[in-house]
Symmetry: C2
Subunit: 397 residues, 2 copies
């Protein structure tokens, strides 16, 4: 990873400029954002949301400010793109911190018609407080849709970070597969794989690396309880199952790189699969190939999922269907748009999707590969590169 | 851990009955909840929130239902307390899933004046959809304050789970301290401690254990970058620092047990501290003792934090002050009320607080112990029990 592979201040500024254009085009006097992923996207300021409200504001002149607790002042002031940092001592404190935000917005001229992601800081971790409407008397316009539309299209720098994420997710997955053995538990195997992959990642790109993830601090690969019959539960919660011969397995791997996440998942087997298991595996690979074939710029997302539904129906597989084909991915694990029959958003170059049609049988277990796929000017590019064929995914018993 | 140490269906029902009383007292026709922690609290149904909306509803007769995607139907139907499970195929799907919720609420008679935690499913992970107001025409009353007031007071079963959490957090922390050495990195040390503590916990209580945590799947202990000078940043994000002689350290440890989290943090040193470091450590311990002395039933939370402020001022330490004394803790890491000068909530038996006054110096690093403390009928009970004295917290170099 070259030192240049990160988001530059210039790129953060360019993102904020697009938001500013949107404000001006819609006659909004400014914007107030509370969600950490949005604030990270426009400013590079990463934080963990708690009961202490944090907000980002920009007025129609493009002046940017942060509203933070005392705890975060030094961190916020280190940000080159922010011209103003206002702080309160603590939450709930006396008076309530929102008085500081109101003063900041007043002084910046953010009033009247204002864009926001939430009408006030969300009530998380015990926080309670007024809505922006109550606080300021402003008319709040929800601009989440604009923001998420903007975040959908990844820049070259973002794609480079996603590719870096794929590398370390691949390593973690390779180790997960290598260390999986009959008689071991999923927890000990996953932890060994995660530890070694994370240490390798940190030693390789460590000096310039920040995870900036709400979910993970390093490379991860795991089963999340999707082992044997419970692999039929697509979002099982891990339960430290012991591997047995004949188990169908479903994995998951990623690595956060400056907040960006790729997604790699594989169906695997403990020893040779039965004929019935092999049949579902083969259908699953064929489904993923069907999705890849339908993806590309200029087409609606829904066309991909419709082709998947058609395959399920043609082969009489609907009892095994559980979920749509995939989701956009980046700073958040799941982002809009979705590869779903109901999402008619046009696929555009720079969008990055998970592609993960799955089959689930209470008797035969779950079958799902997930790959991270970029829409390019003339088609698609696979960002993940782990083997997909059956032979590569059978663990010797 | 005895098999009886978990939340029984009877206790979930009793929680829901209290919510039902609140609905009836306030002439609400029902309640709709979207937050995973609230749904877990009233039903025991644990899930990971995504773009696929999930909701819980109860009408004024106490009939309980879940609204879920196809993916979660089997999981939802396994819940003995839920009489009705309505599902949609997928998000965004066609038509939008919220039509299914509207039909469910109509049929249950949840209309007119309705309690809710959010006016519609929050727009997370790319979800977009109508507010409850737009969807149903109901008048939505925010009942988060009632719910969080109810969650503040822990039952005997909840306290037992928090004590179980303390045990495994203690083990993880003991191993973290034992494995910390000059020249090693925080990541390798923390991972070794977490792995071994988690495997021990799962082998000990595994057959009946579920983490049900949004944050952790096992016992954890870590530094989060709070090493040497960066220990002065209270919520530093981990950066794989190498331990050096003379470093001041701040740790954090917990273990999720059926969703309940305790909190254990310690100031430690790589080798004997300097006189200046020792002075700040001694003040920190005295501050924590000051907080313990002020805690007890019938007094306002603010009194504890005011005593801490008074100590800071008396000893001319305000430049080192960064945050309030503590927070309630349970299903969420941070819950209301807070040990904060502005929180006048009365301390009551069954409340459980983190107690963690801290001192932070850019030159000398950060100093913070955090213990988990129960308010009892006649005082307090320490739930964490890790050594607090200086001698026990110096790592030989």
């Amino acid at each position: 990873m070259e030192a240049s592979i990160k988001i530059t201040d210039q790129e953060f500024q360019s993102r904020a400029d697009q938001l500013l254009n949107h404000l001006n085009e819609n006659n909004l006097s400014g914007v107030v954002l509370f969600e950490s992923h949005y604030i990270l996207y426009y400013t590079g300021f990463a934080f963990i949301p708690t009961e202490r409200p944090i907000g980002f504001a920009m007025n129609s002149k493009g002046e940017k400010s942060l509203f933070v607790p005392r705890l975060e002042v030094e961190h916020a002031k280190a940000n080159a793109l922010i011209s103003r940092v206002d702080h309160y001592l603590e939450y709930p404190d006396n008076p309530h911190p929102m008085g500081v935000l109101k003063k900041m917005l007043d002084e910046m001229g953010v009033s009247g018609d204002v864009g926001a992601d939430h009408d006030g800081y969300p009530w998380i971790f015990g926080y309670r407080g007024p809505s922006l409407t109550e606080l300021t008397g402003a008319t709040i316009h929800n601009i989440k849709a604009f923001i998420e539309d903007q975040m959908m299209i990844k820049s070259d720098a973002e794609i480079a970070l996603l590719k870096e994420s794929c590398k370390w997710g691949n390593l973690a997955h390779m180790l997960l597969q290598r260390y999986t053995e009959v008689g071991l538990t999923e927890t000990e195997v996953a932890q060994r794989a995660c530890n070694e992959a994370t240490c390798a990642m940190l030693d390789t790109i460590g000096p310039i690396f920040r995870s900036q993830s709400s979910w993970f601090s390093g490379a991860v690969a795991m089963y999340r309880g999707q082992i044997g019959r419970t692999s039929a539960i697509p979002h099982a919660l891990a339960n430290n199952i012991t591997f047995q011969a004949g188990d169908a397995l479903v994995t998951g791997a990623t690595a956060p790189v400056w907040g960006y996440h790729s997604e790699l998942e594989r169906s695997m087997f403990m020893g040779p699969p039965s004929d019935d298991q092999k049949r579902l595996f083969d259908h699953m690979v064929a489904l993923q190939n069907t999705a890849f074939a339908e993806m590309g710029p200029g087409k609606p997302c829904s066309i991909v999922d419709k082709a998947i539904h058609a395959y399920f129906e043609k082969h009489d597989l609907m009892p095994y269907w559980r979920h749509h084909t995939g989701h956009n991915i980046g700073l958040r694990y799941h982002e809009a748009p979705f590869l779903d029959t109901g999402d008619h958003t046009e696929m555009k170059p720079g969008m990055v999707f998970s592609v993960e049609p799955g089959l689930y049988s209470p008797e035969l277990g779950g079958y799902r590969h997930s790959d991270t796929v970029l829409i390019t000017d003339d088609g698609i590019e696979m960002l993940t590169y782990y083997p997909r064929d059956l032979e590569s995914l059978i663990i010797p018993v």
